[in-house]
């Protein structure tokens, strides 16, 4: 009875909640079309223009607003995210595979791995910087920062793979073994195709987390900035709408990456479906 009143009230509330989540970004998008170069990062919109988008790509005449150093940092961030994705997915699959047999010390190792996603980035970043300094190792985004990124993303990949393998029917593997197929070949031909959707999710997790990772990178990387560090650099100085335009562009970019993932996922699911049908026919 009361739920008849409560449900619409809650529905309205959820609408407001979503507005709360999206509001800032909507305002940011509107302001990214501010007139330039005089227009500031606030209302009212003097005149609608794409000036700040052109500004990012260096298509505007030089003005007092310096262009953002985003080109190189974007490439660095993508490379780093890719390295992190491959490493943490490989480690995640291997570790989850190991956890299928209850080996001695598995409880301890489990907590050691999960700790990686619990410890705040400032701390792992600080610790890595200290170790590197003491050992006289120079810090770079592709060495020390990469290592801390994997510490962060590997637990996610591990947990995703653990969840997948928990629901996995081991009898197909046993059938393959008993037919004399060696373990490595069984893994390649039987296990891996079956867990592939999970591998894709683990990769997506690792890539997005590393691509946007900031607090670990701040201390662990050296002079060359990654994309989040370049954005953080704009915090200190006066902000212009070019940062907003940049935010809109990176979001669109993330969505295109997400679309690639969705396409890969659908393809792999469809392939699995087709394989099942072929088996039925055979």
């Amino acid at each position: 009875m009361e739920s008849r009143v409560l449900k619409p009230v809650l529905a309205v509330y959820v609408g407001l909640f979503i507005l709360f989540l999206y509001g800032p970004f909507i305002v940011l998008t509107i302001l990214s079309f501010q007139q330039g170069p005089e227009g500031g990062p606030q209302f009212p919109i003097i005149e609608w223009s794409t000036y700040w988008y052109r500004h990012i790509f260096g298509l505007t005449p030089p003005s007092r607003v310096a262009p953002l150093p985003f080109g190189e940092s974007l490439i660095r961030s993508l490379t780093l995210a890719f390295m992190t994705m491959v490493t943490s997915t490989v480690l995640g699959v291997m570790s989850a595979q190991a956890f299928r047999s209850k080996f001695k010390g598995s409880g301890f190792v489990f907590y050691l791995i999960v700790l990686g996603m619990m410890v705040p980035g400032v701390l792992t970043g600080l610790g890595t910087a200290l170790v590197a300094n003491t050992m006289g190792i120079e810090r770079h985004w592709w060495s020390t920062a990469f290592v801390t990124h994997v510490v962060y993303t590997f637990p996610f990949a591990f947990l995703v793979m653990l969840a997948i393998l928990n629901r996995f029917d081991a009898s197909v593997e046993e059938a393959s073994w008993s037919l004399g197929v060696p373990p490595m070949r069984t893994f390649r031909k039987v296990t891996f195709p079956l867990i592939f959707p999970g591998v894709l999710s683990a990769m997506l997790f690792a890539f997005t987390l590393s691509y946007d990772e900031f607090s670990r990178t701040l201390f662990a990387s050296g002079r060359d900035q990654t994309l989040p560090l370049a954005i953080y650099g704009t915090f200190a100085v006066e902000i212009h709408p070019n940062v907003f335009a940049f935010g809109v562009l990176t979001t669109l970019f993330s969505f295109s990456l997400l679309t690639v993932y969705a396409v890969l996922m659908t393809m792999s699911v469809r392939r699995a479906g087709r394989a099942a049908i072929q088996e039925d026919i055979a």
């Binding site: 009361e2 739920s3 409560l6 809650l10 529905a11 509330y13 959820v14 909640f17 979503i18 989540l21 800032p24 970004f25 305002v27 940011l28 302001l31 990062p41 606030q42 209302f43 480690l91 291997m94 570790s95 190991a98 956890f99 047999s101 080996f103 001695k104 598995s106 190792v109 050691l112 791995i113 619990m118 410890v119 705040p120 980035g121 701390l123 600080l126 610790g127 200290l130 170790v131 003491t134 290592v147 801390t148 510490v151 590997f154 373990p183 946007d212 900031f214 607090s215 994309l227 989040p228 954005i231 902000i239 940062v243 907003f244 935010g247 990176t250 979001t251 993330s254 969505f255 997400l258």
Partner: protein
């Protein structure tokens, strides 16, 4: 026969060790060692330009004798509690609607996806987006003035503790919604139906059935939010105008001026707080039993 099984098992065990070794070594070297290093360095001797491995508690004394540092310790705890409460109060009704009130699975998935989509915008951009929203000439002030609710813009909206709380709540509230909605969706609807048939009011059902059964979700969400808020420094850097200093901000400034020993002291204190908070939450609910 028994021997054969045993050897098969030892082979499997050996394979397991080979498989786990790279991951375990990675975490030991690049997670455990750095954390221990922070503890160790916090006892090093700091001079103006360098640190030396001569053990001393000078940095610890410096932290506990400074009002600024003690103040930031309390600010961190206070902001953490406020944001935790805000994410719970704002997030629970949404989770209730998504997890319990929406009957169609598709709609509840769509709503959850809508909540997650903002995460594909860079975290720092999302924080920065609050500036044109909260500023003196920001969207909220303009809207309120147009609506005639206020005559002069509210200046305390931006570059204050309030703006930091608003920003953090918006960024982290989804981590509260997800786990709670998940637990709520697993509640057996027949229990609620039965309670209603027996004449229990909605609020009684809520406090006696729904809330207790969703508690594990609340705890998981609270752990997520706590871990992230306690280690924060970017939101305060962007939205507080240097007025709010969390322990994380202290670490960043100290590292910036190469005061590694003091930064390590703050790091150790932060680690201890985190450990206490997580242990406290896990004491409320036994997650292994619930999940």
């Amino acid at each position: 026969m028994a021997e054969q099984i045993e050897t098969a098992e030892t082979t499997r065990n050996r394979t397991a060790y080979w498989l786990i070794a790279p991951g375990a070594v990675w975490m030991a070297l690049f997670l455990a060692v750095p954390i221990l290093m922070i503890v160790y360095v916090s006892f090093w001797t700091q001079t103006t330009f360098k640190i030396e491995p001569i053990l001393t508690i000078a940095s610890w004394k410096q932290f506990f004798s400074s009002e600024t540092y003690i103040g930031s310790l309390f600010t961190t705890v206070r902001l953490w509690l406020i944001v935790l409460a805000a994410t719970f109060v704002l997030g629970y009704p949404t989770a209730l609607f998504v997890g319990l009130f929406v009957k169609s699975k598709t709609l509840s998935t769509v709503l959850l996806v809508i909540c997650v989509i903002p995460f594909w915008t860079s975290f720092l951009i999302r924080v920065l987006a609050w500036r044109p929203m909260l500023g003196k000439e920001g969207a909220i002030n303009i809207l309120l003035q147009k609506a005639g609710l206020i005559s002069a813009p509210i200046e305390a909206l931006l570059f204050s503790e309030l703006s930091v709380v608003i920003g953090m709540t918006q960024i982290y509230v989804v981590f509260m919604v997800g786990p709670i909605a998940f637990m709520l969706s697993r509640i057996d609807r027949n229990i609620i139906e039965a309670a209603r048939d027996l004449g229990a009011s909605f609020w009684r059902i809520f406090f006696k059935i729904i809330l207790p059964l969703s508690l594990p979700g609340v705890i998981v969400g609270a752990i997520f939010v706590s871990v992230m808020v306690l280690g924060e420094f970017a939101t305060t850097a962007a939205l507080s105008g240097r007025k709010v200093n969390l322990l994380g901000n202290i670490i960043v400034t100290q590292v910036g001026s190469l005061k590694w020993a003091l930064a390590s002291v703050v790091g150790v204190i932060l680690t201890i707080i985190m450990g206490l908070v997580i242990a406290g939450f896990l004491r409320v609910v036994d997650l292994k039993k619930e999940l």
